[in-house]
Amino acid sequence: MARNLSMKDAINEALDQEMARDPTVIVMGEDIVGGSGSPGEDDAWGGVLGVTKGLYAKHGDRLIDTPLSESAYIGAAIGASTCGLRPVAELMFLDFMGVCFDQIFNQAAKFRYMFGGKAETPVTIRAMVGAGFRAAAQHSQMLTPIVTHIPGLKVVCPSNAYDAKGLLIQSIRDNDPVIFCEHKNLYAHESDVPEESYTVPFGEANIVREGADATIVAYGLMVHRASEAAEALAKEGIQCEIVDLRTLSPIDIDSVVESVENTGRLICVDEANPRCSIAADVTATLSQEAFGSLKAAPQLVTAPHTPVPFSPALEDLYIPSAEHIVDAVRKTMAP
């Protein structure tokens, strides 16, 4: 039976159900239990924003607090995944991958290919992404393009609670390394989530809104900005189709092509910086594969080529808005 659940609770439920189902699933990270070795309560935090709260009481020592040593514990999760465990390691903020990126892109991503197909690396690395939390330049980035660039990694970025649960369960069961990106400004967002366990497959985009005039491609928080823009444009009689990519590697380009063949217009929205972004990648691929369908030049709506600023006044300008998307759609409609 489905209930209304926040994305945060949906992620917690996915971890809970997978740990109950499979004794080789362990969860590790900084403060994911919280309070280890401290005089106060066990499970003091349950993660810095409380996503893993309550799991320690149910699964005990399979939740492991780590020291502030991203290289060591992300590497240990990767190593353990080649030795019979199915670790879910929380990197807290994806921005911190700078500290341990070698383990992710030179080790986990390479094992299968570099060892001639003989290695499996079923590790899931959960991390918060995205701006809007007034957390400034080192806790707010949308670094999805960097990990998407690396062959061997899978990259997931859900836009809602239903997808978050199903995609996380798929990530844990998947035998390749997965970077699971959780937008911190979507943790409180609620949608219907079935109680039972289910998976959402990788590489299948979700058409969250149908429309005949323009295709808006987005993922994560930007799906919601795109929906706001589509609502506004619908009042003017412009019908937008929204493609929620859900996973960036693998990526469902076929659904984008199919949509653009119907609408003739493409707007790619990405909270990442513009150069070598997901938006740039989708635009390039689409231009190559469906150029003849395009009635107007594709538009990219991204953050500017700057770090994420702190001041709320500046950060609000940094994040792509519904107005930016409306303007971009209008550009494609201009005669």
């Binding site: 240990a76 353990a80 465990l85 070698d102 030179n106 060892f115 003989k118 899978k154």
Partner: protein, 327 residues
């Protein structure tokens, strides 16, 4: 022959010699073949260091996982990886241990507990901690072991891993192979303490130093700390002081070495010569038995090279396979 005074039986002594000799001849042959231009890429040879890999690995089984270094051939052979598959891999052939996609720096055989040679210095320590964590969680009695050179033992990953293994009381052994040079840079310049074993105390774990050219010293010290790890006593650090007979990589002119250094090492610090002298002078092993192993090893290496040379190269279809399990 006298009674055996060593901590290993005669068969094990012969096996230890065979392993060390196999590593030596494997590397000597690569040195020659690389010089002839027959081997692509970077090759880092383990010759001179055989007693360490062999003396340690004789205590391990396939459940025990090791994370190796760029200088990994010796670890592979001592851990039981097939030399024919290794040679074919180094020649870039599709019959290689990694189907020609890894090369010298990335040979792995997980079925033997060999998690991979590694082109990134210090990267293996966290991975081996993961193996130790898996062993502890699954309760199968195995251990994790990482090898780092004197150079990579200055990496943060190594130091972070010592702390991680210590606080989690992991069944883990950190082996520092100190051959005196990080590439061309002397350990005296690059490392602030006299011994890496001294660092162990800073992480609350035992540290030991052994003469890495002395098989028996390595064997005994390794046995103790591996037993400790297996019995739940937690991690240890073992520093092997050793010599590297060749350069950092093949093609290294070794202009950083002192005059006569290589000749001195070959004459006085050759772990194979030292082993032979010990077991024959004690009159426990007949020199003729060792000579017979020498011949067998040379023949096996020759066969491995012949097979590698004759083996097919990977084809265009292989380029894009095995990036993912499923995509």
């Amino acid at each position: 022959m006298n009674d055996n005074v060593f901590p290993l039986g005669n068969e094990d002594l012969l096996e230890a010699y065979r392993t060390m000799k196999t590593i030596r001849e494997f590397e000597e042959r690569l040195h020659v073949d690389f010089g002839r231009g027959e081997i692509p890429g970077f090759v880092h040879l383990y010759a001179g260091e055989e007693a360490a890999a062999t003396g340690i690995m004789m205590h391990l089984n396939d459940q025990d996982r090791i994370a190796s270094t760029h200088r990994g051939h010796g670890h592979c052979i001592a851990k039981g990886v097939d030399i024919n598959a290794m040679m074919a891999e180094i020649y870039g052939k599709v019959t290689g241990a990694c189907r020609g996609k890894g090369g010298s720096m990335h040979i792995a055989d997980l079925s033997k507990g060999m998690m991979g040679a590694n082109g990134i210095l210090g990267a293996g320590s966290p991975l081996a901690c993961g193996a130790a964590l898996a062993a502890k969680t699954l309760g199968h009695g195995g251990i994790g072991m990482s090898f780092t050179g004197d150079g990579a033992s200055n990496q943060g990953t190594f130091l972070e891993s010592l702390n991680l293994a210590a606080i989690w009381n992991l069944p883990m052994v950190f082996v520092v192979e100190n051959n005196g040079y990080a590439e061309s840079t002397s350990v005296d310049y690059a490392t602030a303490v006299d011994s890496y074993a001294d660092r162990a105390a800073g992480f609350g774990v035992p540290g030991v130093i052994v003469d890495g050219t002395d098989f028996f010293a390595v064997y005994e010290a390794a046995g103790e700390i591996i037993r400790r790890a297996r019995e739940g006593g937690g991690p240890s650090l073992m520093e092997c002081k050793m010599v590297r007979f060749f350069g950092h990589f093949e093609g290294d002119a070794q202009t950083y070495r002192g005059a006569g250094e290589n000749e001195h090492n070959r004459a006085n610090r050759d772990c194979l010569k030292l082993f032979r002298a010990r077991v024959t002078e004690a009159d426990v092993i007949d020199g003729g038995d060792l000579d017979a192993i020498d011949s067998e090893v040379l023949a096996a290496i020759e066969q491995a090279v012949e097979q590698a040379v004759a083996a097919p190269l990977p084809g265009a279809a292989d380029l894009t396979t095995d990036v993912y399990v499923r995509y």
